[in-house]
């Protein structure tokens, strides 16, 4: 599954961009140094192959739904992890640009989820151990099946983590996880089976291709530790930069919090299961980049405020009070927001029309 721009926060998106860019840089260097120039057209054309192959579907027995070849695992088996990763990254980039699969900011996440796990973890640690040296029919099948499933499970888990950390979607961690993992178990099984079938075909038709790939692809090109360090560093840097931006700009973070905090009394009357602390967790963690200190203090103040007023249920007064201190939710603001919004939209479209009209008249 692809992550989408709309679902991630810039901190998560930026971090994953940095990580994926680092991996691409690393692989490019590796590829530049080590390989013969014959591989340059080869990897490009293999990317195109993945594209074309993914458009041929087969019918999954019993269910009647259709499946197609996955990317990362078969590429790793044929080309080795580094080239496979670059190829996967290029496929995802084209998908992001032309089919808007995912989007530009989410591209980093997608490259990591669908490229890193199969190429650098599932392939070397699982497939290669099982079927690398001794590719028999049974080994290819077990190796590809387990590796594909494992790769996709990790990818799915990463999607859940990224979504939850971004905090744009309200899906709770557990529900989302329970939704994603079984689906990807099925997808992984299909990918494993197709990969095994195709690899087996190649192994019988042209065994030298697999042998060349197996011998030219050294394991351990990337240590997991260095990737984790990379993620940590990238998180610190993007998190730091973005929270600096956010703090220099009062509305983004505090406003969202006060909005939620300000309606505490409504909340308690409507649904009790949403306690303030939960709200705080949800809204204050990451999406607004205020990780601690001043943000939570303000939130506490606000809580006291709203408790004072909440008891009397004098909503209008409470709202007026808040409205005076925070540009928030009183109905006057919302009405003017509504009207202003419509007006802005109309204005934008009008500018579009004028621009086009002027052009066609020039």
């Amino acid at each position: 599954m692809h992550m989408a721009d709309a679902l991630i926060s810039p901190a998560v998106g930026g971090t994953m961009w940095a990580v994926s860019a680092g991996l691409i840089g690393h692989c490019s260097k590796k590829v530049k140094n080590e390989m013969d120039d014959q591989k340059i057209p080869l990897m490009g054309v293999m990317g195109a192959f993945i594209f074309a192959a993914q458009m041929i579907n087969f019918t999954i027995p019993v269910t009647g739904s259709s499946g197609h070849l996955g990317g990362g695992m078969i590429l790793s088996i044929l080309l080795g992890p580094h080239i496979a990763f670059l190829t996967m990254a290029s496929v995802l980039t084209v998908q992001a640009l032309f089919f808007a699969d995912g989007g530009l900011l989410a591209l980093g996440c997608n490259i990591f989820n669908l490229g890193f796990f199969p190429c650098f973890i599932a392939y070397p640690l699982i497939y290669k151990r099982i079927a690398g040296k001794n590719p028999t029919r049974k080994n290819i099948l077990t190796g590809a099946l387990i590796a594909a499933i494992a790769g996709l499970q990790m990818g799915a888990f990463a999607v859940v983590m990224e979504t939850v950390l971004s905090g744009v979607s309200e899906l709770p961690f557990r529900t989302f996880l329970l939704l994603m993992q079984p689906i990807h178990l099925a997808i992984g099984t299909v990918e494993g089976l197709t990969t095994a079938a195709v690899v087996f075909f190649i192994w019988r038709a042209r065994p030298e291709i697999l042998n060349a790939a197996a011998s030219s692809a050294p394991i351990g090109g990337i240590s997991i530790r260095s990737v984790l360090t990379g993620i940590a560093v990238a998180t610190l840097i993007t998190g730091g930069t973005l929270s600096w931006f956010a703090s220099s700009n009062p509305d983004g973070l505090e406003w969202a919090m006060f909005k939620t905090a300000g309606v505490e009394e409504l909340e308690t009357s409507h649904n009790l299961h949403l306690s303030l602390s939960e709200v705080q967790k949800k809204t204050a963690f990451l999406p607004d980049y205020g990780f601690q200190s001043d943000g939570s203090e303000l939130l506490l103040n606000e809580k006291e405020n709203s408790e004072e007023y909440g008891g009397t249920a004098a909503t209008t007064e409470a709202k007026k009070h808040e409205a005076s201190s925070w540009p928030s939710i009183d109905s006057g603001t919302s009405v003017s927001g509504l009207i202003g919004g419509l007006l802005t939209l109309t204005l934008a479209v009008a500018i579009g029309f004028i621009l086009r009209y002027k052009k066609s008249n020039v």
């Binding site: 458009m55 041929i56 744009v168 979607s169 309200e170 709200v279 939710i329 509504l338 919004g341 052009k359």
Partner: protein, 299 residues
């Protein structure tokens, strides 16, 4: 299968759009790539309950579509086709997050309309007896963030589509190369793009040949699928070899060099900086709310 060809035609069409001749098309790709990235970054950085703040951002896609003569309906159609995914994730928000964070008092609107002299609407409502019904609308945080997600989706996806339709894939690649993306990856992207067409064509010929000889409604079994994909793969590997030969015959030495005239002139700088400031302003000041307030004050 039909899907396969459609995708191809779709890419062809976007490619054709990219070869337009407007001022925007001629702009250095670097300016457009950079502006798009800034745009996506600022849009996504808006708080999760923002709707009004996102509205001014529509100016960018609208203006570019207008200036570059892009077909509006096509862009909208493409975005709608992609909508379901964001929808399915986003729709959980209203379910999970029921806390009311916005109350729209409709009477306020009528009062406001009265105040600007729209013929005593309040009285009308009193007469019809709607007063009780036309009360306040409670909007939960979930719905607001849902709409916010959908808006972000449209904006970010739209920006990516517009970039490709005004710039073309190879120019985007050249821009990325100038931005320091490693050359093996650029070569990779360019080869992928070039041979995507050739291989999709080859794949669809194979699928068609199979369909013509199986006489059934096109259920492909795995034991047929594997040799077919395998065959395509073998042909691909052979093709890669032939391409390499063709490259070597023309002096290929492991590096792909290209001469492309790209210059960052005044218009590129103005374009990028102009939009940059626009996005920052959209992000810092909630223009719709300000505008609305201003309007209700002067009226």
């Amino acid at each position: 299968m039909a899907n396969l060809q459609n995708n191809l035609f779709d890419i062809f069409y976007m490619d054709t759009l990219a070869s337009g001749e407007t001022w925007l098309h001629r702009l250095d790709p670097r300016a457009k790539v950079l502006t798009t990235l800034i745009f996506v970054g600022t849009v996504v950085s808006c708080g999760k309950y923002e709707i009004s703040m996102l509205i001014p951002f529509t100016l960018y896609p609208v203006a570019i579509v207008a200036l570059a003569n892009l077909p509006v309906l096509y862009i909208i159609k493409k975005m709608t086709l992609l909508m379901p995914f964001a929808f399915f994730i986003g729709i959980f928000n209203p379910i999970m997050d029921r806390a009311v964070i916005l109350k729209i008092d409709l009477t306020d609107i009528f009062v406001w309309m009265d105040s600007i002299g729209l013929n005593n609407l309040m009285g009308l409502i009193d007469i019809i007896g709607l007063k009780g019904i036309v009360g306040t609308i409670d909007v939960s945080g979930g719905w607001i963030s849902f709409f916010s997600i959908m808006m972000r989706f449209c904006l970010t996806v739209g920006a990516a589509l517009i970039l490709i339709c005004t710039t073309g894939f190879d120019s985007v690649c050249m821009a990325l190369q100038k931005f320091g993306v490693p050359s093996p990856f650029i070569a990779q992207l360019m080869f992928l793009y070039r041979y995507m067409f050739v291989l999709i064509d080859e794949a669809s010929r194979m699928v068609r040949a199979r369909a013509l000889r199986t006489f059934d409604t096109g259920h492909m079994k795995l034991d047929l699928f594997a040799p077919m994909i395998g065959q395509l793969l073998l042909r691909t590997l052979d093709r890669a070899q032939r391409i390499h030969l063709a490259m070597c015959c023309r002096g290929f030495d492991g590096h792909i060099h290209m001469v492309r005239k790209m210059d960052l002139g005044m218009s590129e700088i103005l374009f990028t900086i102009g939009w940059f400031f626009a996005f920052v302003i959209f992000r810092m000041y909630n223009i719709p709310i300000g505008l609305g307030k201003f309007l209700s004050e002067i009226l």
